[in-house]
């Protein structure tokens, strides 16, 4: 859920400020998520219109975690 919200923030910035994310690093802690995004401004090749909850999933895989988020483009 936090991850979906975080991606949605990127989508919002992409549409309103023309952010074109290139690289992101995430740190997940106790009920919090911190991320750093690097990118440029311009016309992204895909505009994410919405982050859906459709088949939203998070599972443990070695190494780390694997998330599935379906985006509406």
């Amino acid at each position: 859920m936090l991850l979906a919200d975080w991606i949605e923030e990127l989508a919002f910035l992409s549409e309103t400020a023309g952010l074109y994310p290139r690289d992101a690093r995430l740190e997940v802690g106790d009920g919090r998520l911190e991320g750093t995004v690097r990118g440029v401004t311009g016309d992204p090749p895909h505009v994410v219109k919405a982050v859906t909850y459709h088949r939203l999933a998070l599972e443990r895989r070695d190494p780390g975690w694997h998330a599935t988020v379906v985006l509406d483009v």
Partner: protein
């Protein structure tokens, strides 16, 4: 998943006892060939999921253009009991009041002649397409509030855009009771603020067409259509504003499912009782987003008139009328079978008796003008299909089709193409869609609508 059983030539059903959580049957309108295509994706499983919604009445219904969506299939109808049933933002979709407006010009294809290319070019210049920003209309907060509350009538009165006649020829006059700008988040407003009068990306487009065949002369005359006439079909919705309203409420309702004691097979079906605070707030925000979408198509039509004035002349622009404007992603409180229901139409068009309905085909193929029939009131809560319906995903289509080649092929057929991106063009290739004529045949055979006229493309402007 259970196999659907045949009810009649064009109706199939999965009974309510197929799954323990289904409350009503799942019913599909299709012929054998279309059903085979439908069974290739998970849309019928999704339709069965819709049949589990608290308060759903009759059946979870699907049109022949059904395909897999997020949570709810696209091309589906769910009527829930009002006010004790639920309302679901996913049952309307992200692009609230995505819909179609048809403009009828006073000139024929022959009269337009060689100016056809100039007309398509002028439309592409005057109406921004593609993802993101770029509308020419910058609304202040108060002005945006008025649009969200009153729809296109606010544009006529305050900004001199379009006419009262356009508004009269819009489904429910471009507004839904209870629209509340305050229910729309700041974020949604920010996304939509400068997007009025813009087409957007994806499957949205403006197509210049000619009336190719008349199937019902009397109705065509009522709609003001005749063979050879040039018409313009506008397909767009509520842009970023509607997407944000849906996003906001899917999240908000998801967080309260347990409180409302609702269990769902897919979180994207997230919903709330209509009478709850969340349910009422969603309907108020959705109505505002729907008003925004109607205003968007109204403003796009204004841009098209400008283009006609430039490419043809001022008289032709002034003589261009709105035939009608229909929503195909919306929820409305209506009376059916003597009871009040909340009809969710996601990729489905309201089709009350004799009301005009427009069914865009895939790019470069024909589109249809239909009129609603009494059968729709009896069988589908006054609803028909909304398009050809996807057969291939966008990715699959891109793998098979090269945008530049497709553009050449369309141009060889005499169709003028202006597209923001070749990739977008490839995603919307005709082979990615079902045959629109077959889809229309099913709804006509089912007695939901009758054919009025078939339209052929002359030029397309795509996002």
């Amino acid at each position: 998943m259970s196999e659907p059983r045949r009810i009649d030539a064009v109706t199939w059903e999965i009974p309510a006892d197929a799954r323990a959580d289904m409350r009503v049957p799942a019913r599909v309108f299709a012929d054998e060939e279309i059903l085979e295509a439908i069974l290739r994706d998970r849309s019928l499983e999704q339709l069965q999921n819709v049949a589990t919604l608290p308060g759903i009445v009759g059946a979870a219904l699907a049109m022949p253009d059904i395909h897999q969506g997020y949570g709810f299939p696209v091309g589906g109808i769910a009527a829930t009991s009002y006010p004790d049933g639920v309302v679901s933002p996913g049952g309307v979709g992200y692009d609230i009041n995505c819909g179609v407006r048809l403009l009828a010009t006073p000139f024929s294809d022959g009269e337009l002649g060689a100016r056809r290319e100039a007309l398509v070019h002028e439309i592409a210049r005057r109406v921004p397409t593609g993802a993101g920003r770029g509308g020419t209309l910058q609304l202040k907060d108060r002005e945006l509030d008025r649009v969200l509350e009153q729809g296109p009538r606010a544009l006529v009165r305050r900004h001199g855009i379009g006419t009262d006649d356009d508004v009269r020829h819009t489904e429910s006059e471009g507004r839904i009771d209870g629209a509340d700008p305050q229910a729309v988040s700041k974020r949604a407003r920010e996304r939509g603020r400068d997007q009025l009068g813009t087409v957007g990306s994806g499957n949205h487009f403006i197509e210049v067409q000619r009336v190719d065949e008349i199937h019902d002369a009397a109705t065509a005359e009522t709609f003001g259509l005749e063979a050879g006439q040039v018409v313009v079909l506008i397909h767009s919705g509520s842009r970023g504003l509607g997407h944000q309203v849906c996003t906001d409420f899917v999240r908000r309702m998801d967080a309260r499912l347990r409180e409302h004691r609702i269990e769902l097979p897919d979180r994207q079906l997230s919903c709330a009782p209509i009478h709850s605070a969340d349910g009422r707030a969603y309907l108020a925000a959705m109505a505002a987003a729907a008003a925004f979408a109607w205003s968007n198509r109204h403003a796009i039509a204004h841009g098209v008139r400008d283009a006609i004035a430039r490419a043809v002349d001022g008289r032709a622009a002034a003589g261009t009328r709105t035939v009608y404007d229909v929503a195909h992603n919306v929820a409305k409180i209506e009376e059916h079978g003597g009871r009040s229901v909340c009809v969710h139409r996601k990729g489905a068009t309201r089709a009350f008796p004799d009301q005009p309905v427009f069914i865009p085909g895939s790019m470069g193929t024909s589109s249809w003008v239909l009129a609603g029939e009494p059968g729709a009131m009896e069988k589908t809560f006054g609803t028909v299909c909304h398009g050809a319906g996807r057969r291939l995903s966008r990715t699959a289509s891109r793998k098979l089709v090269d945008g530049a080649t497709l553009r050449r092929e369309l141009e060889q057929q005499g169709i003028v193409v202006r597209a923001a991106s070749s990739k977008g063009l490839a995603e919307e290739a005709p082979l990615a869609y079902k045959e629109v004529d077959a889809v229309v045949r099913v709804v006509a055979d089912a007695g939901l609508a009758r054919r009025v006229a078939r339209l052929r493309p002359l030029g397309v402007v795509k996002g």
